[in-house]
């Protein structure tokens, strides 16, 4: 067995038959943008690319601007989609309709060269051009094999229910690859509402693992739903408050482990927030400090990589996390930088000047997500047109709220924009709106 859909087991032979069926549809090009929303179909598409020596491309979002950059990176790219209405700027290969379960294959599990380039995962970079991070098959496998040990998933295969998309590095490793290379069982669904999470978990037998984020875990607690017995909850994408971790463990009688990682390095550390604030680094991964910066290397990491967080390396070889490098933005697990967002804003025709900034007290009460605000000087644009232009370039989570039109930005004498001055400007704009 390799997966479940709606609680029904999907056997390995059936999976291999489906990989054989999808492989020829991908055509002669070398690159596949795998946009399948169904986690199992994503896994089939990824495996089909792998056995035919193709590279799966995983951009952070599918906005028209990002797709243009992707075509520049790989002009032969095709998009595999399971959405019949898919409309992309690249040729679309529709995932074929599922045939009855009788479609079994005599094929053996294919062997893939560990040097083969399996995926390229993109981060948004800071200048408008996405940055490509190459992932070879051998290192991806090494990473998830270590993950199964670190999470204690070594006995009976567990059913993995994940709320994160398979295209996100965390979801890719911890759901798709845990099944494909780690021996766990993938649930095809991507449950969204708390009631959906409960239903998907209930559809599969024990042991069950829930792979999620602070946003969805907070929502689960707020909703008051009951969950079936859970062996483990895994959380990543943003730091989880210790109190929230304790509440999750108590309410659902489970164990919560938090993973630390990044798109560049994959996962590299784990901790149980209710037991220790300190993160335990994976064996063979090495951290080194260079001034304010921390670099990671060794183990499955492709090349020495500067981490985007401020870390304090402890005497026992672990580390403490002290927040993000100032420019970086993480909203509901989607990562960007103020530099990149400002670049995109200022690239829109009609925008004379503009800046994104963090706003205090901008947190929504149940999911705990805080949005960015932006100030813009654009006398010839209105909010509707500017928002539409931003939507072409940015993932929706980064759309500014509020978006303030001003006569000029509060730049200081050196041309810099103090965050404090921006927040004061926002506060002044908010007063009349709240009163009305």
């Amino acid at each position: 067995m390799i997966a479940y859909r709606a609680g029904e087991p999907i056997r390995v032979a059936q999976f291999l038959a489906e990989v054989e069926r999808v492989t020829p549809l991908l055509g002669p090009g070398r690159h596949v943008l795998n946009a399948c929303g169904d986690r199992y179909q994503f896994m089939v598409g990824f495996a089909a690319a792998l056995v035919s020596g193709k590279v799966s491309l995983l951009p952070p979002t599918h906005t028209p601007e990002v797709l243009r950059e992707l075509i520049r990176f790989a002009p032969d790219v095709v998009c595999l989609s399971d959405d019949p209405a898919a409309d992309f700027a690249v040729p679309v290969v529709h995932y074929p309709p599922t045939t009855p379960a009788s479609g079994s294959s005599s094929a053996r599990m294919p062997q893939i060269d560990s040097q083969q380039l399996a995926a390229v995962v993109f981060t948004s970079g800071s200048t408008g051009t996405p940055v490509a991070h190459r992932k070879t098959w051998g290192r991806l496998v090494a990473c998830v094999r270590e993950e199964t040990r670190q999470l204690g998933l070594t006995e009976v295969p567990a059913a993995i229910v994940a709320t994160v998309p398979p295209q996100h590095m965390y979801g890719f490793e911890s759901s798709v690859l845990l099944a494909l290379a780690g021996g766990e069982l993938l649930c095809a669904e991507r449950p969204f509402y708390p009631a959906d999470i409960a239903a998907t978990l209930s559809s599969v037998p024990r042991p069950r693992v829930l792979l999620s984020t602070p946003v969805h875990l907070r929502a689960l607690l707020a909703s008051g739903v009951t969950l079936p017995p859970l062996s483990l909850v895994v959380c990543s994408t943003a730091p989880l408050a210790q109190q929230l971790a304790a509440d999750i463990e108590r309410r659902f009688s489970t164990l919560l482990l938090e993973i630390y990682g990044s798109t560049e390095t994959g996962q590299i550390a784990v901790r149980r927030p209710t037991a220790a604030a300190e993160w335990q680094l994976w064996p063979n991964v090495v951290l080194s400090s260079q001034g304010e910066e921390t670099w990671a290397s060794g183990g499955h990491i492709e090349q020495p990589t500067r981490l985007n967080d401020v870390l304090e390396i402890t005497s026992s070889g672990g580390f403490l996390l002290h927040g993000r490098v100032a420019d970086l933005v993480n909203i509901a697990g989607k990562r960007s930088s103020l530099g990149y967002l400002n670049h995109q804003l200022n690239s829109i025709p009609g925008v004379q000047d503009g800046a994104f900034f963090h706003l205090e007290d901008n947190r929504s009460s149940h999911t705990g997500v805080a949005r960015l605000a932006a100030c813009v000087v654009a006398p010839e644009l209105d909010a509707v047109r500017l928002r539409a232009a931003l939507r072409q370039r940015l993932d929706p989570v980064f759309l500014p709220r509020p978006l303030l039109f001003v006569a000029r930005l509060p730049r200081n004498s050196t041309g810099k924009l103090p965050q404090e001055a921006l927040r004061a400007l926002a506060a002044a704009h908010r007063q009349p709106a709240r009163a009305g």
């Binding site: 509402y193 009631a195 959906d196 739903v225 149940h366 939507r391 929706p396 989570v397 709220r401 009305g436």
Partner: protein, 101 residues
């Protein structure tokens, strides 16, 4: 929320629906820190994507607010889900039919 709401479930009159619409609009604006006054939301404008410009995180937030206020548990697996967030009016209609408090 000092509006004179009737606690009894019944077929909503247009007047009741207007009260509920204002109430839900206010809940949405407060929960999401939106930059508009509740009365400015066009009841027929799409909530998701273009229109009011909400994304999936917002939808999750609204779902929790609505479940807490009105006892309506939302599920994503039905066709209805797309329709519910089609507009404020459709969300209010859904709450009117499914509310348990």
């Amino acid at each position: 929320m000092s509006d004179n709401l009737s606690p009894i479930r019944q077929a909503a009159s247009d007047a009741d629906n207007g009260v509920l619409t204002r109430q839900v609009a206010a809940l949405v604006v407060t929960a999401l820190n939106l930059d508009v006054a509740p009365g400015e939301i066009d009841p027929d404008q799409p909530l998701y994507g273009e229109g009011l410009g909400l994304d999936s995180i917002d939808i999750l937030e609204i779902a929790l607010v609505v479940s807490k206020e009105y006892g309506v548990q939302l599920r994503a697996d039905s066709e209805e889900n797309v329709r519910i967030f089609g507009s404020l009016r459709q969300l209010v209609d859904y709450i009117t039919t499914h509310r348990t408090k």
